[in-house]
């Protein structure tokens, strides 16, 4: 039926070739017009889920992580004094629009503002446990020491600045508040020196800056880095500064992908041309060569019109399409060149296996339409558009352009044309050995969901990140416990529970939380009530009497501690996020209070991950734990799930197609030989060599399935006489062009494109000999 359709189309257009060529040019012109609208996106979002899955939600939360969006600048020099001065100079040079809110240290801590604020807000902050500890600590002896220390401080020059604090807090109650500041330093390994973030050895300083430049904006990233390069010229000799942020990753990846695109597209075109010149040996081979170029134009145009922005990775696959799209044209070419039979009849005969092969490839790509990754879905549309265009151009247009070759005008290779007896048993034995060895290593196949493994990280950036981690820990790699609720009180209450849960179970961990400084309003009211009751109760009165007595002994006047007494019975207003900002904790508040939620940062340790894994009844309700390491595991699991689903669906669809085409058990099994060989060899060799599967080469697997089934359909179809001779050669040449396309991807600098190249090279590299040698051997051909 398919054959009749294309035969009829040939007959229709035979007397109307001008119309056919005009329509073809119109199609290509449409593609070109669409291409002019193309906007390329170079970020990694193409390969991250955009559905409502846990992985997608976690990825969004990781993107909201406080330090994910920060620009960190690491200054190094041998003299701490010059470092702080250099940090000031560089900070002053980092101006809007590329840098905003540049901080050389926790601004709040370099003034007396925060200790004063803490002392004033103790009634809201100290809970019942704190008051019990306070009562136990303030023995009469301790009070004597405190008052005497205050007296000695007032005697020394220091007294000029501490007098006010002595009057407001003679018992050093703020020390209980300062304990709570332990949990607000997001850069755990930094020491705060003179208000600057300095490394423990004093040879490194840190600047933390915000930038309005989106992390996925490669052009903005380029300008930001240029601005930084210019700004750091203010640094004195001996002080260096390196910038670490997501922008550098974006720029490095964008540059690599752009470079790869140029290299892949140009080299694959050259390689394919060279193969054509060698095998096709006629100027008419140009038409076959033009088919992949034309479909690249059509597919790119369609994708540009269908999407606002096209992922660069999708276009990178264009080089691959160049390789796969020629097989239909090749089949038609060799059929037309090798036979002088009536052209419509010939087209009708070839159309069956060619359409069957194209449907198999379409089916394997269609599976990707259900992917949760936008890049994979876009790639599926791109590839399917290209395949449909290649099929139409090959079956409808090409037969009008290719003439039968004169005798001896086509290349014949003895091994594939039956010119000599094939060593059947050896071929089958070798094939079985390959399958057996591959099967041994399939179990070693790994799945890598690590985002960084998919990115290109230049050595310089890797070193800069390593140095930053050594000096200041890994603020960008912290895990987050997230509570979300539209009601801020509920969110704060849950955040308090999360903090208690983590403190009890990970007492040594450097937790960063707002809970100690921003309890829910209800807790603050209760704390204030407890505070008042404490100081009017027996313990409170005892402490105050001891204070007055100690003060009197040392000559303090009766009004010396009046501000302290007043504060005990007049609690301050409730603490809010705004009052924390006014106290100098704005950056921390902005980092940990996110839309409808509150974050707690915790080191991304196995112990922390364990607390949030599986069912844990002690864990507070409604908390999401997002760990960069755990995210990699989640992605790997998602990849594995997707992979199994793709593999199963593809094989089912492809098998169904093969069954529908051949309807003969033996021929069906023969047609599946290349796909089984390609997949098994690919899994086995990758398992044996330790090459993992990632988000990218899963796509390649789908492609391997589609292509390998094509080879099987063509080769088995050849046995029925369809398409006449030259099928071996068409499979060989299209296989070689595919390898050329993928071979070029192996040269890509970007790990994603490179991994695709390596993967498919193995799969297709095994499938071609399986199609050309094993199928005939198993079929028992003797010519």
């Amino acid at each position: 039926m398919i054959g009749s359709l294309f035969a009829a189309l040939y007959r229709y257009f035979a007397p109307r070739r001008a119309l056919l060529f005009a329509l073809t040019l119109l199609l290509l012109g449409g593609g070109l017009a669409g291409l002019s609208q193309l906007q390329v996106r170079e970020d990694i979002e193409a390969l991250l889920p955009d559905d409502l899955s846990q992985v997608a939600a976690d990825f969004r939360r990781l993107r909201e992580a406080p330090f994910a969006r920060k620009v960190l600048i690491h200054l190094r020099g041998s003299d701490p004094a010059s470092l702080s001065d250099s940090a000031d100079r560089l900070a002053a040079a980092l101006a809007p629009p590329y840098f905003t809110r540049v901080m050389t240290g926790p601004a709040s801590l370099d003034t007396a503002r925060l200790p004063e604020w803490l002392a004033a807000n103790l009634p809201n902050l100290l809970d019942g446990d704190d008051l019990n500890r306070l009562a136990a600590t303030l023995t009469p002896e301790r009070i004597d020491i405190l008052v005497e220390t205050a007296y000695q401080q007032l005697l020394s020059p220091e007294g000029w600045v501490t007098k006010g604090m002595v009057r407001r807090d003679p018992l050093d109650l703020r020390a209980f508040g300062l304990e709570k500041l332990r949990f607000v330093n997001p850069i755990g390994q930094a020491r705060i020196d003179d208000g600057y973030f300095l490394s423990a050895d004093g040879r490194g300083a840190l600047i933390v800056a915000d930038s309005p430049v989106s992390l996925t904006d490669s052009q903005g990233a380029e300008r930001l880095l240029a601005t930084f390069d210019e700004a750091r010229t203010v640094l004195p000799a001996g002080v260096t500064a390196t910038l670490v942020s997501g922008h550098r990753h974006t720029l490095a990846n964008a540059s690599a992908i752009k470079g790869d695109l140029m290299r892949v597209l140009s080299l694959s075109s050259l390689a394919v041309l060279a193969i054509y010149l060698f095998f096709l040996r006629s100027w008419q081979g140009v038409f076959v060569f033009l088919v992949p170029s034309a479909i690249l134009l059509v597919a790119s145009g369609v994708i540009a019109l269908a999407y606002d922005q096209v992922f660069a990775v999708t276009l990178g696959f264009g080089g691959v399409l160049l390789g796969i799209a020629d097989e239909y044209a090749m089949h038609i070419y060799f059929a037309c060149r090798g036979s002088g039979r009536e052209r419509a009849e010939l087209v009708g005969e070839v159309a069956g296996p060619v359409t069957g092969g194209a449907l198999a490839t379409l089916a394997s790509f269609a599976v990707m339409l259900v992917s949760s990754l936008p890049g994979q879905r876009q790639l599926a549309i791109y590839a399917m558009t290209g395949i449909v265009a290649a099929l139409l151009l090959s079956l409808v247009v090409l037969p009008h352009l290719v003439r039968p070759a004169p005798a001896g005008g086509t290349l014949r290779l003895p091994l594939f044309t039956g010119g000599q007896r094939r060593p059947r048993k050896t071929i089958v034995a070798l094939w079985l050995a390959l399958l057996a060895v591959s099967a041994l290593f399939v179990g070693d196949l790994r799945f890598d969901g690590e985002l960084r493994a998919m990115s290109l990280i230049p050595e310089e950036l890797r070193r800069a990140e390593h140095d930053l981690r050594q000096a200041f820990g890994d603020p960008r790699g912290q895990a987050m416990a997230v509570v979300e609720d539209t009601d801020s009180e509920t969110a704060l209450a849950r955040n308090r529970e999360v903090f208690r849960f983590l403190r009890e179970r990970l007492p040594e961990a450097a937790i960063v939380s707002l809970a100690p400084l921003l309890p829910p309003a209800a807790d603050q009211r209760q704390n204030a009530e407890n505070w008042r009751a404490f100081w009017t109760g027996e313990e409170g009165r005892r402490i105050l009497a001891a204070l007055d007595a100690a003060g009197a002994r040392l000559g303090f006047s009766a009004q010396a501690f009046a501000p302290f007494h007043a504060g005990l019975t007049a609690p301050p207003p409730a603490i809010t996020s705004d009052s924390l900002r006014q106290a100098g904790l704005g950056p921390l508040v902005d980092a940990l209070l996110v839309k409808n939620g509150v974050l707690t940062l915790v080191p991304d340790s196995a112990e922390a991950r364990e607390l949030f894994a599986g069912e844990n009844p002690a864990r507070p309700a409604g908390v999401h734990f997002v760990s960069p390491t755990g995210f990699g595991t989640e992605v790997a699991a998602a990849i594995q799930r997707d992979f199994s689903r793709y593999l199963l669906l593809s094989l089912l669809l492809v098998s169904a197609l093969v069954v529908a085409i051949f309807r003969d058990r033996r021929r069906i099994l023969l047609a599946l030989v290349p796909v089984v060989t390609g997949l098994l060899a690919m899994f086995g060799i990758m398992g044996g060599l330790g090459i993992p599967f990632n988000l990218f080469n899963i796509v390649a697997t789908v492609l391997v399935i589609g292509l390998c089934v094509d080879y099987g359909i063509f080769m088995v179809g050849n046995g029925t006489g369809a398409g006449a001779g030259g099928v071996d050669l068409s499979v060989l040449v299209s296989g070689l062009t595919t390898l050329a396309g993928f071979g070029v991807l192996v040269l890509a600098r970007h790990p994603a494109l490179h991994s695709i190249g390596v993967t498919v090279l193995i799969g297709i590299g095994a499938a071609i000999p399986a199609a050309l040698l094993v199928i005939p051997a198993l079929r028992g051909e003797r010519e």
Partner: protein, 207 residues
């Protein structure tokens, strides 16, 4: 009437301006002289007597002690009576001690902004670092024999604690002889430095 306006201008604008300019020139001359006379001071050791007139104490607190300084950034402030306490400073680090606290406790100026503020003051006085003082204070010449300066802080942070300082130099203008620290609210401290010994070797163990 038309001659009155220029006269008023002369009286109320130009004459005070002229007087101010003259005062300013005098201050600069005195400061230049202090710079020259204090330039060669490498070490200083002296007794001090401090009177603290603070509202929070029933009586004036009087204390005595020893003060040591060595260029560029070493100093020791040691109260001997009525209690033994004090601190020493060596670069950006130091130690402080109190009679009841036992062993000296180290500190880092980078982590103690209050102590840093005080240390900078004391070092500036000891070094007669007039540039540093001019940057942070409005200086007025109060007297020339001995040279006495009134310093009003420029910075908001310092204004929280200080109203003004009165610094008097010794007769030769080589070191600070007394300092009055007047705080906001009326409290004040008077420190007199006596028996100053200049440029004598100091025991390194002092710092």
């Amino acid at each position: 009437m038309k001659y009155l306006l220029p006269l008023w201008l002369l009286l109320f604008v130009f004459l005070p301006l002229a007087a101010w300019a003259e005062e300013d020139a005098e201050l600069e001359r005195v400061l230049a002289g202090l710079k020259v006379s204090a330039a060669g001071i490498e070490t200083l050791a002296s007794d001090f007597t401090q009177e603290k007139h603070l509202e929070i104490f029933r009586e004036t607190l009087v204390s005595q002690g020893r003060f040591y300084f060595a260029r560029p950034d070493k100093l020791r402030w040691e109260t001997t009576a009525p209690v033994a306490s004090g601190f020493l400073l060596n670069g950006s680090g130091g130690k402080r001690w109190h009679q009841r606290a036992g062993a000296p406790v180290p500190f880092d100026l980078g982590r103690e902004p209050g102590m840093k503020l005080i240390a900078e003051q004391l070092l500036a006085w000891a070094r007669v670092d007039l540039d540093w003082l001019k940057e942070r204070y409005h200086l007025t010449l109060v007297g020339t024999a001995p040279v006495t300066l009134r310093l009003v802080p420029r910075q908001v942070a310092a204004k929280q604690y200080l109203d003004y300082l009165l610094i008097a130099f010794d007769a030769k203008g080589r070191h600070v002889a007394s300092v009055e620290v007047h705080e906001q609210g009326g409290d004040y401290t008077l420190i007199r430095f006596d028996a100053a010994v200049l440029n004598q070797p100091l025991d390194p163990a002092l710092f």
